[in-house]
Structure formats: structure tokens, C-alpha cells
Amino acid sequence: MVLISKQKVREYGKGLAVIALLLVAWECAALVIDNNYILPSLTEIAEVLLHPAQPVLGGESLIANTLVSLKEVLTGFFCAAALAIPVGLLIGWSTEVQAYLNPAIQILRPIPPIAWMPFAIAWFGIGINSILFIIALGAFFPILINTVDGVRGIRVRWIEVAEMFHATTFEKLRTVVLPGAFPRIWTGMRVSFAIAWMCVVAAEMLPGTTAGLGFLIMYAYNLGQLDVIGAGMVVIGIIGLGADMLFRAGQARFFSWEGKD
């Protein structure tokens, strides 16, 4: 199926060498420091990772906590996309809509989603709804901005072809603007997913949550179990990497036409 060239192997080899070096350095430091409360050794972290289905610290397993976080991220992410894509299409399409909405968007966009947490708790209470709100907020803007840019990048000639065939405005949006902007929208979703993933961990660290990777990390911190924290961080990193790889693969698979004419 997929043939990895020698060049690719060499490229990956370089990256893996650095990771190996970092791990060795970590392990050496842990041996020297010899204090679990400052730096847990890799073997202890690996111990947690190698038993992902076992209860951790008397609570849910690593897998169960990961699934909770993933579910929250996906829910918030899809809510954000469902809102950001149509709004982005409208802003990109109509300078009138842009004139109304752009200033508000530019002011709201730089605010870190976590800053909304107190409001979120006040409006939605402690728990899942607040977390979903924060994730959706974080994921919303990258998708929106990229959708707008994608629409702006549509070739006028494509729209003219649709007009020549007497397409209605809705048909122009559906058959030309949306597919033409989709590679950029996809890029926005890729960025958004990474942000959503960061938001979920941060949001779960707040009081009142009872599950999720962020919760697990904070709970382990309170109990002084730094190996669990390390394991949680490794899982977060791997899932982030995996999602990014999926988005890249999707890009190569579906948008091979991008930039080619």
C-alpha cells in the first residue's frame, strides 16, 4: 500500500533520534534527582501507560478519562464548525454582512477561551456544558477566519460559470463557494481541533469536574502522583499528533486539486 521511501525513513529517523535523546536525558535526570515529587522516571510513567484499562488513583481508567475528553472535544468542535462555516460563508460572500460582523469578531477573537470560564460557569453551571462552551468558543474563530479567507479566494470566473448556467444564489454557494473554499475550511478545522484539545484539558482542570484527562492531571497533582500526570501528558500529545495526521491525510486525499489549474 503505502511505500515509504528511503528519504522519508531518513527524515523520520532524525526526528525519532531527537525524541530518543530527550527521553534518555529525562531518565538520567530522574535518576540523579531521585525524587518522584519533582521528576517521575520514565519507567513509572510507562507503567501507567501500559495499563490503560486499569483504574487510576482509585477512579476511572486512563482510557475512560481519555474517552470523556475526546467526546467533549468532538461535541464542542462540531458545534463550532456547524456555526462557523455558514457564518464564514456569509461574511466572505457579502461585504454588507462583513461590515456588520467583522469589528465584533476582531475584538472577540483574541480573547483566550479560558478567560470566559467564570462567565461560562455563571451561565451554564459547573460541569460539561461550561466545558463544551469553552471548547466551541476556542474552535469557532479559526474555522470562521479560514472560511472567510477561503471564500475570498474563490475565482470570480468560477462564479461566472455558475451565473452563465443561471445558478441561484444558494446554488452558487453550495456548488461553487463551499467546495472551492473547502481546502481552507479544512485547514481551519485542523487548527481548531488542536485548540479545542488544549481547551478541554484546561477546562477540565477547573473545580467541579469529575472525569477527563485534565481532571486526571489535576487530581494526580493534588495526590502528588507525578507519574500519572506524565502519562496523561503523553496521551494528550499522542492524540493531538494523531488528529493532525488524520487532517493531513484528509487534505492529501480530498484536496489534491488545490492550487492546481
Binding site: 470570480v156 470566473r157 452563465m164 443561471h166 441561484t168 467546495p179
Partner: protein
Amino acid sequence: MGGEGLMAESVLSISGIEKTFHGEGEDCPALSGVSFDVASGEIVCIMGPSGCGKSTLLRIVGGLERADKGSINSPSGLLGEGPSVAMIFQDHALFPWLSVEENIIYGLRLSAQKIPDTEMQRRVDDLLSLIHLTSFARSLPHELSGGMKQRVSVARALAIRPSILLMDEPFSALDIFTRRELEDEILRIRQELKTTILMVTHNPEEAVYIADRIIILSERPGVVAGIITVTLPHPRSPADPDFIRIREEVAGRVKGRNEVGCAIQHE
């Protein structure tokens, strides 16, 4: 076989078309009173110095631009009954995310056309074989050569069975061999489908090679400065002395540089 005998009825009547573009500061007059008729099944080429409003005229006929004055109508009543005009641009303007087949079917899928699915597929299959690209039905445009792309663009325009095909310098981006091949293909399509064609070109040889009539516009603002009827039988040979004589006459009449300090840009 030329256009003789096909000149029965006029399918398009252009009269008194005026158009001025209002730019920043200065106005840019493009057309001032262009009038001519196109007969059914005829191939008419529009020529003129660069910037004389040739493309603007074509875009007005195609409904992409509005004329300030004048009218475009069809005595035979073919225009106005749904989408009966289709345009082919200099760049193929294919949708890069759609396959060859999906590009051809694009216009048919829109609500402006009410065509049953089976009929759609039949038309696409016919057109694919007409342009000899049946085996590329599933390919994406970027996998095709320039000439193949322009053939798909022609098929996409023909799919809606237009009463008039408008072509805006359709082959000028292609190399000379591909160009001649496509000109022959256009002649063959006219022969088979009796399509009426209105084409803008800046190449006198191309005009004499395929046109029944050549309409020459003056410098901007454009008016009809002359009409040359080409009665040479097809296939025409560019080496034929008569061909050369007509080509030189056309080239001689398309002259004058555009000195007006404004430019019209259609992308």
C-alpha cells in the same frame, strides 16, 4: 461545407449596444453602438484591436455584463427560453474539485434545467465521446493537458444544448498544434450539432480558418468597422492563396492601437 445554406434564420440580433465602464475618476467607453445579426448555425468571429471591447460585447450577450443601451434579442425566440447561451472562456474555468464527468454535468444539475437523470447521463456519455475523453470521465482537471481541459469546457457548455455558443479567445492559451486540433473539433461539432458560434479571437488565421463571417470592431469605443464573409470551402488550408489573401485583408483591417488610458479587466 461552409455556412452556406444554413443562413436561413437569424438566431441572434444585436443592435445599438453601448457600454461605458465607470472607473475611479475617469470613464472608460467600451462600446458605442454595435449592431449585427448572427444566423442559425453560423460561426461568426469578432476581431479588433486590443481593448476594443470584444470581450465586453461577448459578456453582454452571455448575460455576465449589462449594456447601457441597445438590445440583444432573438427573432426566432430561442433566447429567453431558459439558458440558451453558454460561454467558453480563455482559461478553461473548470471546477478543479469535480471530475471531467461532473464538470460536464454541472450546468444540467442546476435547478434552471429540468432534465431527468437518465437523460443527463446520456448527454454526458454522448459529449464525452464527442470530445474523445470517455476514458477520462473520472479524472480531475489537473490530470489533463491544456487542450483536453478546453475540450471539457466545450462539452460543459454544449451540455445545456445552447442555441448559441460564445467563445472568448478560447484557444489562445494553447500551443499551435493543439489549437488547430480544437479548431477542427469546433468545426466538426458545428457540423454535427448545428451549433451557432460567436467567437472572439485576436488571431486572423484562426478567424479565417473557422469563420463564416468575421466582424471587425474599431478601436475603443468599439463600433462595427467591417464585415468580411469567408466563403472558402472546408477544410480550409492556411497555405491556399485565397486563404492568405483573406487573412491579410483581415489583419490589415484590424489595426490601430488603443491609446485611451484606461483598461477593462475581466479577471
